[in-house]
């Protein structure tokens, strides 16, 4: 096909679609008569059109069956009525295969909706809102969870928990002799280390974040998801549990074996006190296709007036040694400053990050990626582009060295100047999150992930490398949430060393080994250097995981917005095996910021992608 014909391809496509204007259609027809290649293309598209038409025709019986089944389900609902308070047994049309079970559920729901003008599935769905309200009023919730583990040489294991939602305390005890207590007000976790015969109290900085606190909502949320996902069969009955009249809900899922036979894959049962709306028991079973029971967990709930006051009351030996790693007031103050600094980071900006990777033979950083971050609180978008490396001089000659010059070049000339290897777009919004990719030279975007999740806050995956969902890139570079991820066995404490004292920084050491000092020799810990003069930005962190690797990130320069907010302007990252010099990977990231942005029209629209 000649070059001119390539331009005509688009018109041929429009002709087949019936959208080409009449006057151009006539010209095109004349060309097609004279051009064998274009004629062949037209015939191929017409053949495709016929094929797709035949495909659609072959699907019509399926669509007709679909219509009839739904209308039949509605028809049944219209002719029946039901009283939600009567003992209702939902009809499970097992003989008509599970696909109608969903219709069966909805039949009753529709009947009620039409009868009472209420769209809630109030027969087959538990009253989750009432459950949350009822649980919020009790003093304590005592739960006993029993797992049956037949394939691990044990009959069962059990653990019980006592929750006080009001006091924000959780006590736990297991048959293996584990004891624990999480206190979300003092942000500590106390547990019994059986090997060392020691009771350890540790600081858990993440407990400052209310997201971690146990609430009735968090308990009920998973049950709600299971029911509302539309399980194959959902039933409701009224019965009795522990002397109380109870609503008994069950949700069953089916699978199909490789041989094509159906089997019960999972069953979830929820039993709720009908008068008090308090959960009394749950049961979850999961089967493998061969019929083997894989998971079998029963949990019972009761509501005592009083709970334990410490882990000794659970039965922990009073002779155990005590190791108190509770935070000092100075440490709490440092972490409070850090969290406040993080909260104060800019929320509305456009940031251009120019990244150079260190090249040994060039003995300098070669720039190989640019990312543009648009951030409007929870609306976030990142356009990321990787290209053949340029020296810093070459980059500045093309793009300049300011936000305005780089942005101007980026939007007009960059894609022409650069030899792009691949691009990515990450979009986070209130109800969606999507990640897209395309190879250099391609016009088409490939969706790597597209998810819908209503509500603000934690949407989609919580983190994706540096593209944190609910914390933006500036916040992540300035106030890493690595500091806020600990476990109860880790000790968090303030320390001093040459770097912290010479730079007037606060050094926080996080480690699960008492021998860890952070001098680079030992592993199993991290150091975070906070700068109180710069809103407690983490000027440097050093991570020493248990492997022979280490990760550093250091802010070399700070920037400040017109509003006085500090942010990291130049960041050095290093990653290497500790016995290898120089570092395997070293990058320099320069941040150019517009803290008073005008966002391009539709920039957060997932359907408007870069051309």
């Amino acid at each position: 096909m000649q070059d001119n014909c390539k331009n005509i391809q688009g018109q041929i496509e429009e002709l087949v679609a019936g959208s080409l204007p009449a006057e151009r259609a006539a010209e095109l027809q004349a060309h097609i008569i004279a051009c064998a290649a274009c004629r062949a293309y037209l015939e191929a598209l017409q053949a495709d059109d016929k094929l797709l038409g035949k495909f659609a025709e072959a699907m019509q019986p399926t669509i007709a069956r679909l219509e009839n089944s739904v209308i039949e389900a509605i028809g049944d609902a219209r002719s029946g009525e039901s009283d939600a308070r009567a003992s209702v047994s939902t009809t499970i049309l097992k003989s008509r295969a599970a696909k109608f079970a969903a219709a069966a559920v909805v039949i009753v729901a529709l009947a009620l909706m039409m009868h009472r003008g209420n769209s809630r599935l109030d027969v087959t769905a538990p009253a989750f809102a009432e459950m949350v309200e009822a649980m919020g009023k009790v003093a304590w919730v005592h739960t006993v969870e029993t797992k049956h583990i037949r394939d691990k040489g044990r009959d069962e294991e059990w653990v019980f928990y006592d929750y006080s939602y009001k006091a924000k305390l959780v006590f736990g005890k297991s048959d293996k002799g584990d004891f624990s207590c999480q206190d979300y007000i003092s942000c500590t976790e106390t547990f019994y280390d059986r090997e060392a015969d020691t009771i350890v109290s540790g600081y858990r900085p993440e407990y400052h974040d209310p997201w971690w606190h146990p609430t009735p909502q968090s308990l009920v949320e998973q049950w709600k998801k299971d029911f509302e996902k539309g399980r194959t069969v959902v039933t409701h009955q009224i019965g009795e549990q522990d002397g109380a009249v109870a609503d008994i809900y069950s949700s069953t899922d089916y699978g199909t074996t490789k041989q094509g036979s159906r089997y019960m894959a999972s069953e979830f049962i929820l039993i709720v006190d009908r008068n008090k709306h308090l959960p009394l028991a749950t049961s979850f079973k999961f089967w493998m296709p061969g019929g083997t029971l894989d998971t079998d967990t029963d949990t019972k709930y009761s509501y005592p007036e009083k709970g334990p006051s410490d882990i000794y009351e659970l039965g922990c030996a009073k002779t155990a040694k005590v190791l108190d790693n509770s935070p000092t007031p100075e440490l709490l103050q440092a972490v409070a400053g850090y969290r406040a600094g993080r909260e104060s980071s800019p929320l509305r900006y456009i940031a251009i990050l120019v990244t150079g990777s260190y090249n040994e033979s060039a003995e300098s950083y070669l720039i190989n990626s640019v990312e543009v971050h648009y951030c409007d609180d929870y609306l976030q978008r990142c356009d990321l582009c990787f290209f053949e490396p340029l020296t810093q001089q070459q980059f500045i000659e093309k793009a300049g060295n300011s936000f305005d010059s780089i942005m101007k070049w980026w939007t007009s000339q960059a894609k022409v100047d650069l030899r792009i290897s691949h691009e990515k777009v990450y979009l986070y919004g209130q109800e969606y999150c999507c990640w897209l990719h395309r190879a250099g030279g391609s016009k088409d975007w490939v969706t790597l992930y597209r998810g819908y999740s209503p509500g603000k806050g934690r949407i989609g995956p919580r983190t994706l490398g540096r593209y944190v969902v609910y914390r933006n890139i500036l916040s992540e570079f300035g106030w890493t949430d690595w500091l806020l991820k600990t476990t109860g066995s880790w000790k968090v404490s303030l320390a001093e060393n040459d770097y912290s004292t010479s730079n007037n920084l606060l050094c926080i050491v996080v480690s699960d080994k008492s021998s860890f000092t952070g001098d680079g020799g030992a592993s199993g810990g991290s150091l975070f250097y906070l700068n109180p003069q710069r809103n407690y930005i983490c000027q440097k962190y050093e991570l020493y995981p248990r492997s022979n690797r280490c990760y550093f990130r250091e802010v070399l320069e700070y920037g400040q917005t017109d509003m006085g907010q500090w942010y990291p302007r130049k960041i050095l990252t290093r990653e290497n095996r500790r016995d290898v010099t120089p570092p395997e990977r070293q990058e320099m990231i320069t941040v150019y910021l517009d803290a008073d942005p005008e966002f391009p029209q539709g920039i957060f629209d997932p359907d408007k992608l870069p051309k």
């Binding site: 391809q9 688009g10 496509e13 429009e14 087949v16 679609a17 019936g18 959208s19 293309y41 191929a44 598209l45 495709d48 059109d49 094929l51 797709l52 038409g53 035949k54 495909f55 659609a56 072959a58 699907m59 019986p61 399926t62 669509i63 069956r65 679909l66 219509e67 089944s69 739904v70 209308i71 389900a73 509605i74 028809g75 219209r78 295969a97 696909k99 969903a102 219709a103 909805v106 729901a109 529709l110 909706m113 039409m114 003008g117 769209s119 599935l121 996902k229 539309g230 699978g255 199909t256 074996t257 094509g260 894959a265 296709p289 088409d444 490939v446 969706t447 597209r450 819908y452 359907d607």
Partner: protein, 170 residues
Amino acid sequence: MQGDSEKDLAARCRAGDKSAYADLVRAYSARVFAICMAMLGNRHDAEDVAQQTLLKSLTGINGLRHDEQFGAWISRIARNLCIDFIRKRRRKPSLAARQADPAWLESRDYRELQAALAKLPEESKLTLMLYYFDARSTKNIAAMLDISQCAVQTRLCRARRQLRKLLDAQ
């Protein structure tokens, strides 16, 4: 079933008009099935999820804020249910065929078309399915996907081009 009549049907359903339900189902079955077929690639799974979508949209219609947006709203329900289904399908085997396939669906033409469709980007697949399953109406597609008719035309052209390349490569 566009513009005022679509809005009227949705409004009547919300008001509890029983006869409107069946009309709404007839209007949207093909489109919902097209979306499910595009995302799941298997007509049996598409039928199951399309059924769930239609039923769910009827029971939850009080949640619809603007009657004229019923198409885009049900489209989103379909896509969410498909995503859930795909996640579940990764953990468990998919359902076997329950109905015998019509003869053409056993043909080589169909197998080649299926193979090519499977490789298309989701956006292109979706646009083609909606176009061919729902009486070739770009207006309907625009309403379902909440984009302009012009954007639909562009997507259709792109989808045809991509499909042709894939069929040529086989």
